[in-house]
Subunit: 775 residues, 2 copies
C-alpha cells in the first residue's frame, strides 16, 4: 500500500500528508482534526470535494432528529468552507498541477497548515491555508488564507460565510433560525436544535489584507440563501501580488455555563462583541494565545519523552495527548468523552466504557481536575442509570451502555448494519445486555479515588456510585436452584462477537468485585463516617441491601480455570468450533470475518473480537497468578481478531507484563497505527479515542510499569528493546512524581510535599525526594 | 460566452451538451430532467460532482420540515446515483481525458443518453449511460450503464442502491424508516415524511449482463448504512469486454390513488411484485413501452410543426411540450403544476398564477382532460381559499398566492433573501397582498369552460368558483368617502418591484371583471338553471351578495388612461423617477438591478419587473382599443426589465398583435432561451414552467393568432419573417381543428362533428369541414 501519511524524524510534533488524494479525505479530516474540548472540527479542506465529511460538533449539545433515532451530537453549520475561484475556475486540486503539497498539523500549537502551488491552464498561484481552534478562548476559531498570484493578471472570487445545509448523514438537527448581518461584515446565524431546543449563535467575519493594508474597499456582496449566509468578494491580483483573507469565527450555545439563562439576543450580542475584539487582535495574536494555553495546560504538565530507535514512538504519545485534550470537555462536568471524541459522526458522540477503562486513567494519573469532571459526569448520570435499572426491573444504578446527556439513560441504537445473509438490520444487543459497563464505571471511580485521594469527591459523589451500582448488581443476579448459586445469564461481554451468553467471566468477576467493594465501603462508612453513612443509608436503603449482599456474594458464580488453567470466557465458549483465523488476523481492515460469516455463525466459533478474559487479567492482576495469565494469553490471543481498537493496547501491556517485550512492542506499533498508520480508511468515522488512551497506557502502564493495585502504587518498568530511555510523570495523591527509566535504572523524583509509598519488584519504598533502583 | 448547449439542426427532438463542465451541472440537470407528472428527477449524473443538485420529487407529497418553514415537495431518496470505480479510481470526468462526450435528451422518447470514453492513467473505458422515467407506468424508472474496457485488465467496482441522505438544501423531510432486502437483490427503503406522514416505498434491483448472459455470479455485498442501502459489485473485464448494468427502480407512496388505504406492507409487497415483473422485461422493453405512451398521449395529439429559417423554433415547441407533460400531475386532480415543475427545489413545488395564465391554456386548448384536472384542483382549493379569506377578514374564496395541498391555504414563505443595505431578510409580501391570483384562477376556469364547453365541470365546480371569488372581491373593496368610490389599496400587482401600492390597474380591472362575470352568471343560473342556482344560493348566500355586487360594481375605480393615453399601473407609478435601464436590460442575468439598489429604492422608480398593464391589455384585449395598446406598449416596455420568466412571452404576443413582428420574434427567441439558451446558470433552481407555457402561447396565440374572447374563437395568424409555415391544432368545444398557416393563407380543417364558428379579421366564419382564408 502507498504511504499516505507524512511524519518528520526531526520533529515529533508534526503529522501530516504530502500528497492530496480524495480517497484519503476522511483520514486527514480525522487525524488532523482540531478542537478544544468545547468544540471539535474535522479538518475538511476549505474547498469541497466528493467524499468529504464536513463536521463540527459542540460537546453536550445532544439532539434527537426524531423519535426513531437516538440522540446524537448534531453537525453544526460549517464555518470553515470557502469557495475560491481563480479566473472563474473553482480551486480543485484534483484538476491541474499541484506542486509542493503539504498539509501538516502541529500538535504543539494546534495549528493546521496546508500549502501548495496550483497551476491550471493560465492560472498559477501559491496557497497557504492556516487554521486553529483556540485552546485559550474556547468559542473561537481562526483561519488565514494567503493566495499569491504567480500568473499574469488573476481575478479572484471568494465566497465564504456560514453554511447550515450540512447534516448528520442526512438527518438535519437544526431549525434554520435567524440570520443577521452587522456593519456589512459580521455575519451571524442562530439555528436551534429541533427537539432539545438548544440555540446556537454562529458568528464570522472576514478581513482582507493586501500589501500590509487592510483592504476594505474590495467589491463584495452579502448573500443569504436557505440555511446559508455568505459574503462574496471579488478582487484582482497582479503578478506576484498576494492577498490574505483572515476569517475569525465563533460558536456559542445556550448550553454554555458562563451565559446560562441568557436570551438568544443577549448571547448574540455578546458573541458579536467577542468577535469584534478577536478581529482586532487578528489571526497571529489569537493563535499565539492558543498555543500558549496548549503549552501551559498540556505540554508542560508531566511531559513524556521517549528515546527510541523509532522516532514515531514520541510522535505517538504527543498525538495521543493532543487528541485526548481536543476531545475532552474539561470545562463542563455534564459532558464526557465520545468514543470518537469530537472528530466524527461515529457512535454519535456517545460515551462508552471506553472512558473509564481506556481514557480516564490518563487524566486520573496526570490531570486530576479533568478526571474529576469526568467521574462527576457519572455521578450526575445516576439519574439516567436509575431510569435504566427501573425500566429493566432492577434496583440501583444500571449505567447505560451508551450515554449522552447525564439524565438521558440508555441511548444505544437498537438496530445496526445489515446481516449479510438475511439482508435485515441486526439488533444491537449492547444497550440491553452489555452490562459490565456498570462495574466499569465503578472501576474508574475507584481508581480515581485511590490515585487522587480526592476525599471530597469520594464523600459527596463517588461512594454513592459504588454503593448504588452494587445495589444494581445484587438485584441483577439470578438464582440457579439446580446449581445452588447465583449466575448472570444472557449478557454480552467485552467480546461483542458473542451475543446473549451466560456467565461471561469479565462480567461475573467485575460484578463480584463491585459488590465486595461496596460491602467494604459500607463497613468503613458505618464505623468511620457516620454522617455520610446515614445520608446514604436513607437514600439507598443500605442496611437492607447490605443483607442482600451478604447473602449473595459468596454464592455468586465466578468461572474457574479448567484443568488446563483456561478461564472460560463464558459457559459455552470453550466447547465451540475453533477456526483458522490467519486470513482475518493478517487483514489490514477490521471486521473482514463478516464478509464470510454472519454474527450468528461467529457466535458459534471460538473467535474473540477484543480482549475479554485477558482484560480481566490486566485490570485485576492481583486476583490471578502470573502463570494463569500466561496460560490464558496463550489460549485467547490466537483466537482474538483485535477487531476493536480497545484490544491491542491491553494485549501490549499484558505481553510486556509477561516478559514478551518484542511481541508487546509489535502490538504497540499496531495500536498506534490504528489512527496514525497507513490504513487510509480506518479513521473515516472519527478518531479511536480508546486507542489514544491505550497509547498512554502502553507507555506508562506497559513500559513504565505503573499500576494502582488495591489503592497502592506499584512501578515496575521494563522498556522494549528499541527504547533507551523513558521519562514520564504521574500525580500520586497530589504528589507529582517524575519517573525516568533506562535499561539500567529507574529514578523516581517526588516533586510533592508528602512521602509516597511505591512498590517495585517486591519491595516497598517510601519516596521522599528521590528513589533510584537499578534494574 | 462559450456555448454550452448542443442542438441538432437535423433533429428537432434532441437537446444536449457536448462538453462536460461542473459549472454547468445545474443547467443540464434541469433542462434534461426526466419525469411523467407523477415523479420528476433532475438529471444529475450517476457519479457525483461538487455543485450537483440531486433531486427527485413526487407530485403532491408535500411536507413541512418544521413550523418555521413552509410546506414543500420533499427531495426523495436518490435512486439514480452510482459510485463507479475502475482499478480503484473513482470515475470522475474532471480528471483524466474525456473523449467524444455527449449527453442528449431525446424529447420524443424521453430517454437520456450520455456517452464518452474516459482515460485516466492506465484505465481506458467507454461508457454509455441511459435512463428514462416511464411515461406508461408512472412508478417506474430504468437505467442502463454499459462499460466497455479499452485498457488491459480492468477491475470494476460498482456501488449502487438507494441513498436517503439527500435533503432539500439541508432540510430533511424524511424519517429514515425501514430498509429491506429480498432474494439478495431487491432493495427497498420505506421512509415517511416527518409531519405530513406520507410513506414512500422506494425499490430497486440490478441486473448485470456480460456477453449476453445475465451475470448472477458476480462478487457482491449488500451494505446498509444510515439512510442508505446499497449493493456493491466487483467484477473484472478483459480487454474489449463490456458489461451492462441495468438498474430498474420504482417509487410508490401512500398518496397514490390506486393503492389508497393500503398499508405500508401491502404497498411494499405490491412494489416488489411490480419490480420483479419489470426486471423480467428489462430496460429496452420498458423504454419502448414508455416511448409509445409519449407518442400516443403527447406527440400524436395535435402536433405542431414550424417551417422556419431557425431550426431551434421547432425544437422550442417540442421542448416546451415535453416539459409541460413531464411536470403536470395529470393523474391526480388533488395536485397541480409547480412554478419549477418537478425539476428543482425553487418555489418548493408550489402552484402560482403561472398555471392559469401561462401553462393551463396549452392544456385547455389541446388536452382538455388534463386541463379539467388542473381546474378541478382549484375547485378543491376552495377550502384553502376560504381559510385564507377568513384569516384576512374577508368573505368568499381568496386563493393563496402559493398553493400546495388543496386545503393548505396560503403557503408563501414570509421571508426572502437578504436586503443588500440592511443585511436583513426581506419580507415577501406576495402571500399577504398579491391578490390578483384570485381573479387569475377565475380567468383560467372561465377560459376552460368557454374553450371546452365542459358543462358538467361548470355546473358541478366551475360556477361555484366564479361566484365564490366574486364574493371575496366584493368584501375586499374599500370605500373611499372623499372620492366616493371603491378602491383596492395596499396590494402587489404582477409587477413585483412595486410593493404595497394602491389601485394596481391589473388588480382592479380583473376584480371588476370577476364580479361582473359572477353577476351575469347569477342572472343566467337564476333563470336557466334553477336547481344549481338554489344549491349555490344556499351555500354562498348569492341573493345577499348579489345586492352587494350591484351596489359596488359601478363604483369600483378602474384606473383610466391619462391625457397621453397611458393607463397608470397604480396610483403613484407615473409620478416616480425614470431611470436609464440600458445596463440592466442588456445584462444576461436577471435581477442585476438589485446589485445597485434595494427593493425600497426600486419601489420609487418607474421600473417594472414584468408585464403588468400590458398583460391586462393582452388578456382582456376586447376591453381596450388597439391604439391604447400601442401607447401603453411604448410607455411600459422600455421600463420593463423582463426580470421574470413570465414577461417575455406576453410581450412577444402583444408585439405580434401590434404588427411589430421582428421585435416579437426577437422576444420569442429571448423567451425560448430562458431555459434552452446559453445562460448556463439560469435554470439551476429548476425549469421555468410559465416560460414553457409561453412558448406554446407565442406560437399558437401569438403567430397562430388564436384567442378566446368572450367565449368566441378568433384566429388571426401572422407569421414572423423567418417562418414559412406553421401547423398546429386546438380542440374547440370538443372539435379538433387543424390549422395551417403560411404567409399567403390560413387553412382550418374541422376534424370534429360540429360546425365551429371562427372569427378572422373581422369576419365570422362557420367551419364545417375546411376554411381557407387568403392573408
Amino acid at each position: 500500500m502507498r504511504t499516505g501519511m507524512n511524519y518528520f524524524e526531526s520533529n515529533p510534533w508534526l503529522i501530516g500528508e504530502n500528497e492530496f488524494q480524495t480517497d484519503w479525505l476522511g483520514k486527514a479530516e480525522t487525524v488532523m482534526c482540531l478542537g478544544n474540548g468545547y468544540m471539535g472540527i474535522r479538518s475538511a479542506t476549505e474547498e469541497s470535494y466528493i467524499g468529504e465529511k464536513r463536521d463540527t460538533f459542540v460537546a453536550g449539545t445532544f439532539n434527537k432528529f426524531d423519535d426513531n433515532e437516538v440522540t446524537e451530537l448534531p453537525n453544526v453549520p460549517d464555518l470553515i468552507g470557502m469557495d475560491i475561484r481563480l479566473n472563474n475556475k473553482r480551486l480543485d486540486l484534483t484538476n491541474g498541477e499541484v506542486q509542493g503539497y503539504q498539509r501538516t498539523l502541529n500538535l504543539k500549537t494546534g495549528e493546521l497548515i496546508r500549502s501548495f502551488v496550483w497551476e491550471y491552464k493560465e492560472v498559477k498561484a501559491a496557497f497557504t491555508f492556516k487554521r486553529f481552534v483556540s485552546f485559550s478562548e474556547k468559542h473561537l476559531l481562526g483561519q488565514s488564507v494567503e493566495i499569491k498570484n504567480l500568473s499574469n493578471g488573476l481575478d479572484l472570487e471568494i465566497n465564504s460565510g456560514i453554511d447550515g445545509q450540512v447534516t448528520n448523514n442526512g438527518s438535519q438537527h437544526f431549525t434554520e433560525g435567524d440570520k443577521a448581518l452587522a456593519e456589512g461584515k459580521y455575519m451571524q446565524m442562530m439555528p436551534y436544535t429541533g427537539t432539545s431546543n438548544i440555540f446556537f449563535v454562529l458568528s464570522t467575519v472576514h478581513q482582507l489584507v493586501k500589501k500590509q493594508d487592510i483592504y476594505e474597499e474590495t467589491k463584495k456582496r452579502i448573500e443569504m440563501g436557505r440555511r446559508k449566509i455568505y459574503n462574496r468578494y471579488w478582487l484582482s491580483l497582479e503578478k506576484n501580488e498576494a492577498v490574505t483573507i483572515e476569517k475569525i469565527s465563533s460558536i456559542h450555545t445556550s448550553m454554555d455555563k458562563e451565559t446560562a439563562g441568557q436570551t438568544l439576543n443577549e448571547v448574540k450580542d455578546l458573541a458579536l462583541e467577542g468577535l469584534k475584539s478577536a478581529r482586532e487582535k487578528g489571526y497571529q495574536v489569537l493563535l499565539a494565545s492558543s498555543a500558549k494555553a496548549w503549552e501551559k495546560q498540556v505540554w508542560s504538565v508531566l511531559p513524556i519523552t521517549i528515546a527510541s530507535n523509532n522516532f514515531k514512538d514520541q510522535l505517538a504519545i504527543n498525538f495521543a495527548k493532543y487528541h485526548l485534550h481536543v476531545m475532552t470537555p474539561a470545562h463542563d462536568e455534564r459532558m464526557n468523552i465520545g468514543a470518537k471524541g469530537l472528530s466524527g459522526e461515529g457512535y454519535k458522540g456517545h460515551t462508552f466504557w471506553d472512558t473509564e477503562i481506556f481514557m480516564l486513567p490518563y487524566f486520573t494519573f496526570t490531570h486530576p481536575k479533568i478526571a474529576e469532571s469526568l467521574v462527576t459526569y457519572r455521578y450526575l448520570g445516576l439519574e439516567g442509570a436509575h431510569k435504566k435499572a427501573l425500566s429493566n426491573g432492577f434496583e440501583g444504578a444500571q449505567f447505560p451502555w451508551e450515554a449522552a446527556w447525564p439524565d438521558d439513560g440508555e441511548t444505544t441504537p437498537v438496530w445496526g448494519a445489515a446481516d449479510i445473509i438475511t439482508g435485515k438490520p441486526t439488533k444491537i444487543w449492547s444497550g440491553f445486555i452489555e452490562q459490565h459497563i456498570t462495574s466499569d464505571v465503578t472501576f474508574g471511580i475507584k481508581q480515581f479515588i485511590d490515585v487522587t485521594n480526592n476525599q471530597q469527591f469520594a464523600r459527596e459523589k463517588g461512594y454513592e456510585v459504588i454503593l448504588d451500582t452494587a445495589k444494581f448488581w445484587a438485584s441483577r443476579l439470578e438464582w440457579q436452584e439446580d446449581r445452588q448459586r447465583y449466575e448472570i445469564l444472557h449478557v454480552v461481554g467485552p467480546d461483542e462477537y458473542k451475543e446473549q451468553i451466560d456467565n461471561n467471566a469479565f462480567t461475573n468477576y467485575t460484578a463480584h468485585w463491585n459488590i465486595s467493594l461496596a460491602m467494604k465501603l459500607y463497613q468503613t462508612l458505618k464505623t468511620e463516617e457516620t454522617v455520610i453513612f446515614e445520608k446514604l443509608n436513607e437514600k439507598l436503603e443500605l442496611d437492607r441491601v447490605y443483607e442482600e449482599w451478604q447473602e449473595k456474594i459468596n454464592k455468586l458464580y465466578l468461572p474457574q480455570p479448567n484443568k488446563e488453567g483456561v478461564i472460560p470466557q463464558d459457559d459455552t465458549y470453550l466447547s465451540k468450533d475453533i477456526l483458522d483465523l490467519t486470513t482475518y488476523k493478517n487483514s489490514s481492515h477490521v471486521g473482514t470475518l463478516f464478509h464470510d460469516y454472519n454474527l450468528e455463525q461467529v457466535n458459534d466459533m471460538q473467535v474473540t473480537k477484543q480482549a475479554d478474559v485477558l482484560l480481566l487479567l490486566f485490570l485485576f492482576e492481583d486476583l490471578f497468578p502470573k502463570k494463569e495469565k500466561l496460560i490464558n494469553w496463550n489460549y485467547y490471543e490466537p483466537k482474538t481478531l483485535h477487531d476493536s481498537s480497545l484490544s491491542l493496547s491491553t494485549h501490549a501491556i499484558l505481553a510486556a507484563d509477561l516478559g514478551k517485550l518484542d511481541l508487546s512492542y509489535d502490538l504497540f506499533n499496531q495500536a498506534m497505527n490504528i489512527d496514525m498508520g497507513e490504513n487510509m480508511a480506518s479513521s473515516n468515522e472519527g478518531i479511536h479515542a480508546a486507542s489514544l488512551g491505550g497509547i498512554w497506557q502502553m507507555t506508562v502502564f506497559g513500559y513504565g510499569g505503573v499500576r494502582c493495585l488495591n489503592g497502592k502504587l506499584r512501578i515496575e518498568p521494563h522498556l522494549p528493546e528499541a527504547w533507551h530511555r523513558l521519562a514520564f510523570g504521574i500525580i500520586w495523591q497530589g504528589n507529582p512524581l517524575d519517573v525516568t527509566v533506562t535499561k539500567e535504572q529507574m529514578i523516581i523524583v517526588n516533586q510533592g510535599t508528602k512521602d509516597v509509598e511505591v512498590e517495585a519488584f517486591g519491595t516497598l519504598h517510601s519516596v521522599s525526594n528521590e528513589l533510584i533502583i537499578n534494574l
